[in-house]
């Protein structure tokens, strides 16, 4: 092992290796900063270079590229609330509120130093772990993976907010949405309305963008203010680093979580950040700041997600099973270079494995270091007037969503989930709980079904299952204690409030809008139940059981709202609590939704490029009140950028009926 380690070290520190690695890193950063692209587009760009290179240099470039994808997408998550990949969804939760408070620089530097730390620490763990990884991975069968999904679900408890039933219903809604498409056991199409797009299920990136990014954009547009007020911006860059040092144990634990969970094939990837985030909330005494810009909410997922990439290497190298999209790309690249993953990677080829592991760590240092360095300046983006920034962000979001499956359906799904997100935000249905449900739906059902097929109900007595089960129970116990403490604290606050005659929080009196939404959720579960009854037993039992349970939960919420329980925690209407009602300067909730619907309908008719150009012109003239010259310039930049990007990276842009019926010259007929 020492020999292998030294050989690897020698390779890594050689000049050419470093140069190629850095080359890969900067290419990866340049691509990764644009949400929705990442490794996939990177591979297309990189491959022509890989040909004819010697395997070691080619590998270095490939690693450099793959390593920084979860790093650079932090920029858009924190600054704009746009999660570029599934790995940055948890970061948005506290990162974006920090940016709104004018602490963008602090949030970014905390995120990048955590990434850096996580990547490095992950590599240390991996160096030892790789030797025992094979039996560990083999010990995690379907039964254990199912239990892990339950552990993930238990995080809903701490993320549920003020009302647990609402949190559970939101999570259930996520689970239901995640079950759309082919049933794992039978391949039957559930809730797909015979629509080809729905048959494949809704992509995670689209859900993440719709549920987090669109509602924030609409909210900021309505208030018509910059993300952060310039006066407050400035310092904080060093604070982020200090935050990491202050919370080093949290970061350490999250890096370990990232490394180990990331190494489990079939689940890892998208759940890790949520487990880390939930862990941060659970282990923190004062939880009130989470979701409103607590830096620990940024540190936890960021230190886990770079460690996760390292962990993800293990099944890729040892079993040839990629844990994530970027690992799939990495695997493809390895095969092309002529490297074979397999058991030899921990015996005869151990030096190659160590080269890869430590190159990954080094790439993290270079990548996160560069981002850390830049973040001070990039943070200023948040002071641009929002009306000028919004069209660019909408362009980016639509483009990113479209990269999920390259189907116009992506845009429609984005819109539909965006509306759901707006309503959930307004009525205080916790969106993280929803997303956790969505992320876990597929794995949970698949592994439960497989575990039952492999071991029967006896799978519950496997030692691994019992251990994870105990952890889940502990997690729920902490969540429950937290909930009861919260309730007490709230009561206390109420009393204090009366004493100090502080302004009592506004509570909605008119519960009809909320009732309507809760009714909609109830009906959705009803439909899910109906749909499950149309399927065979194995195809419908999961959604059927889920919906039956959720009908009770959401029914309870609905009942409380319908009977006008104003003081119950289920009552929440952001329009009232944030004081939007009656404020003339705030635009109506539906106003910008119409704008977006218009954009998407137009995409259907004349394609994305023409639509987004029109959107830019109209929006900038009407909403930002920009001059003609400025409008033309900004629109030109956007269009030029899009066409260049799609040409260089061989990407499609959505085509409309116009492009389908007439052949247009490039780039109007871009395909």
């Amino acid at each position: 092992m020492i020999d292998a380690f030294l050989t690897a070290l020698q390779t890594i520190l050689s000049g050419t290796h470093l140069i190629y690695l850095a080359g890969g890193v900067f290419l990866g950063l340049a691509i990764g900063i644009f949400p929705g692209l990442g490794g996939i587009a990177g591979l297309s760009l990189l491959l022509p270079f890989l040909y004819g290179m010697d395997p070691v240099s080619a590998l270095a470039m490939l690693i450099g590229l793959v390593a920084v994808i979860p790093t650079s997408d932090t920029f858009t998550s924190v600054l704009m609330g746009i999660p570029g990949s599934s790995g940055s969804q948890a970061t948005v939760l506290d990162g974006f509120p920090m940016a709104k408070k004018g602490q963008a620089a602090r949030a970014l530097s905390a995120a990048f130093s955590a990434s850096l730390f996580g990547g490095l620490f992950g590599a240390i763990v991996l160096t030892a772990f790789v030797l025992i990884a094979r039996p560990v991975i083999l010990a995690f069968g379907s039964a254990e993976l199912f239990m892990l999904t339950l552990l993930g679900l238990s995080m809903v408890g701490v993320l549920a907010g003020s009302s647990l039933v609402k949190g559970l219903s939101a999570c259930g809604l996520g689970l239901l949405l995640g079950s759309i498409g082919g049933a794992p056991a039978t391949g039957e199409y559930r809730m797909s309305f015979d629509n080809d797009y729905m048959m494949d299920g809704i992509p995670l990136v689209v859900v993440g963008l719709g549920i987090f990014a669109l509602p924030e954009i609409i909210d900021l547009l309505r208030q018509n203010r910059p993300i952060a007020e310039a006066s407050k911006l400035g310092s904080g860059w060093l604070d982020g680093v200090r935050d990491l040092i202050r919370n080093k144990w949290l970061a350490l634990r999250c890096a370990v979580i990232g490394c180990i969970v990331g190494a489990l094939p079939g689940l890892g990837g998208s759940v890790v950040d949520w487990i880390a985030y939930g862990h941060a909330v659970q282990t923190t005494k004062d939880k009130s700041g989470f979701g409103k810009g607590d830096v620990r909410g940024v540190l936890a997922p960021e230190s886990s997600n770079n460690a996760k990439e390292g962990g993800g290497l293990i099944p890729t190298l040892l079993f040839g099973i990629p844990g994530s999209g970027s690992m799939a790309v990495f695997l493809g690249g390895m095969v092309l270079i002529g490297l074979e993953p397999g058991p030899a990677m921990v015996s005869t080829d151990l030096d190659i494995t160590y080269t890869i592991v430590w190159s990954l760590a080094l790439a993290n240092v270079i990548g996160a270091g560069a981002c850390l360095f830049m973040s001070k300046w990039v943070a200023r983006l948040t002071t641009i007037p929002y009306a000028l920034m919004a069209p660019f962000m909408i362009m980016v979001i639509c483009f990113a969503a479209f990269q999920a499956t390259r189907d116009l359906g992506d845009l429609v799904a984005l819109m539909a989930i965006g509306v759901l997100g707006v309503l959930m935000k307004r009525f205080g249905w916790p969106r993280p709980a929803f997303l956790i449900g969505f992320v876990l739906a597929g794995g949970m059902e698949t592994y439960l079904y497989q575990a039952l097929q492999f071991d029967g109900i006896g799978f519950l007595t496997k030692p691994g299952v019992l251990i994870i089960g105990a952890m889940t129970v502990a997690s729920i116990y902490f969540a429950a204690r937290h909930a009861s403490k919260n309730a007490k604290a709230a009561k206390q606050d109420d009393q204090d409030g009366n004493d100090d005659s502080a302004p009592t929080p506004r509570k909605a009196r008119d519960l009809r809008p909320q009732t309507l939404f809760a009714g909609g959720v109830f009906v959705a579960f009803g439909y899910g139940l109906y749909d499950s009854l149309q399927q065979s037993m194995l195809g419908g039992v999961f959604t059927g059981g889920l919906c039956a349970l959720m009908l009770l939960m959401s029914g309870y919420v609905l009942f409380k709202l319908a009977t006008n329980r104003v003081d119950d925690p289920v009552n929440f209407d952001n329009e009232v609590e944030a004081g939007y009602v009656g404020d003339q300067s705030i635009t109506g909730l539906l106003h910008y939704i119409y704008w977006l619907v218009g954009l998407i309908v137009s995409c259907y008719l004349v394609g994305y490029l023409i639509s987004i150009a029109l959107f830019f012109v109209i929006f900038l003239l009407l909403k930002a009140r920009a001059s003609m010259v400025r409008t033309a310039m900004l629109t030109g930049c956007a269009v030029l950028f899009l066409t260049t990007l799609s040409h260089v990276m061989v990407l499609d842009l959505p085509q409309g009926l116009l492009q389908d019926s007439v052949e247009l010259p490039w780039p109007l007929g871009l395909s």
């Binding site: 290419l27 340049a30 490794g39 996939i40 591979l43 297309s44 760009l45 491959l47 022509p48 083999l138 069968g141 379907s142 794992p184 056991a185 039978t186 391949g187 039957e188 080809d196 048959m199 494949d200 094939p265 079939g266 079993f319 040839g320 099973i321 999209g325 690992m327 799939a328 790309v329 990495f330 695997l331 493809g332 690249g333 095969v335 092309l336 002529g338 074979e340 993953p341 397999g342 058991p343 030899a344 499956t405 390259r406 189907d407 079904y449 497989q450 097929q453 492999f454 065979s536 030029l640 066409t643 260049t644 040409h647 260089v648 061989v650 499609d652 010259p665 490039w666 780039p667 395909s671």
Partner: protein, 381 residues
């Protein structure tokens, strides 16, 4: 027809070896140049020449998967052997179990030889089964080449058998197989075991053959199959450790359409041999015919390159020649075994013949397999 592709691609070809930045700049300037040049482009094509063009190779699968790697392996080499050496780029259009990309190719592909499609068994199977998502017609397209592979069936030592002769002993045992789905390539092993009258419990929802192999290694399932290259790299070590026992291959197809032993695993019997061992007679009948159709579509002609309907014969011949030259080249010889395995690639007439066999299924056979899938695995069409 005007061809707006030419000016921008010629420039990007010039710069194709330069850095990303210069590529981006090229895209920029050529984007503009292109708009201006649309009216100037001429459609003359006397002898086929792709100089300065860009070939888009549609792969209806995700980046990083088997078909994607296969295409990216071939792309630069084919480019060298095409007249004018156009840049060949891979464009992934995944979705609908690969039907989406194929449908799009059927609907939109340009007939000038600059759009090609790479398909796999997962594209052929829904076509053969009459999946309602399929809106493409293989018989419209022109075959350029075919890439074969093989499959090896192996079992766990816990079952107590050592060779194909003992397979009968498996009857009545609890056999578990981790599968991606009954209509995936797993149709071939599932139908094979059914033909041998061996009952198998298929456990679906595996995310690929790799996941099935992992379940085998964990002891969750006790039988499995892998394609040849995966078997060589990942199962052979298990065989050496005594944790897996290879039983049979699916075989390869000879010139006369008969099954022969797989040259990569000459010591293992092929499926038709095993059938004879078990049943004491040559395989025949509808069920075996169906198996053979799907075997060819899934293995013997697993991957193929196609040009769309209505492509000029000149262009087709140019492509076929380029494929043949690629396969004969030294570079290919040096690198192919690691990426594609030891199978001879089918080019020119052989490729056409391979797909003729692969895509030929009688209506009666189609109905039989649909009924079989519905009865046995509750598949609804």
């Amino acid at each position: 027809m005007k061809n707006p592709q030419s000016p921008k691609s010629s420039l990007s070809k010039l710069f194709s070896t330069k850095s990303f930045k210069s590529k981006a700049l090229t895209g920029l300037s050529t984007g503009l140049a292109c708009m201006a040049a649309v009216t100037l482009a001429t459609p003359i094509q006397a002898a086929v020449d792709f100089s300065g063009k860009r070939v888009e190779w549609i792969i209806p699968f995700k980046e990083g998967g088997g078909s994607d790697t296969w295409a990216r392996f071939y792309a630069p080499m084919i480019s060298k052997n095409l007249p004018g050496q156009p840049t060949v780029v891979v464009k992934n259009i995944p979705g609908g179990g690969s039907t989406k990309g194929a449908n799009q190719f059927q609907r939109r592909a340009k007939k000038n030889g600059l759009n090609i499609l790479g398909t796999s068994g997962s594209t052929q199977f829904p076509y053969l089964l009459g999946d309602k998502r399929v809106k493409y017609e293989y018989k419209d397209w022109n075959v350029v080449m075919a890439t074969p592979t093989g499959g090896v069936f192996y079992v766990s030592p816990s079952l107590g058998i050592n060779s194909a002769e003992d397979l009968v002993k498996l009857r009545g045992k609890e056999l578990k197989y981790g599968s991606q789905g009954a209509t995936s390539l797993d149709l071939v092993p599932l139908l094979a075991l059914d033909l041998l009258d061996i009952d198998v419990q298929a456990i679906f929802g595996m995310k690929g053959r790799g996941a099935g192999r992992l379940a085998f290694e964990r002891g969750e399932v006790n039988i499995d199959y892998q394609t040849s290259s995966a078997f060589l790299k990942k199962v052979t070590p298990l065989v050496t450790e005594g944790k897996a026992i290879p039983i049979m291959t699916w075989g390869v197809m000879d010139q006369n359409g008969q099954l022969q032993r797989d040259p990569t695993f000459p010591e293992l019997p092929h499926f038709a041999e095993v059938y004879q061992m078990i049943h004491g007679k040559q395989p025949e009948g509808t069920a075996f015919n169906v198996w053979k159709s799907f075997f060819v579509a899934g293995f013997a002609a697993q991957k193929g390159i196609f040009l769309p309907k209505g492509t000029d014969q000149d262009v087709i011949e140019t492509w076929r020649k380029a494929a043949a030259e690629t396969v004969a080249s030294d570079e290919f010889g040096a690198r192919s075994e690691k990426v594609l395995g030891k199978y001879p690639q089918a080019v020119m007439g052989d490729a056409v013949k391979a797909f003729e066999v692969a895509l030929n299924i009688s209506d009666a056979d189609r109905q039989w397999v649909r009924d079989w899938l519905t009865k046995k695995y509750n598949v609804r069409f």
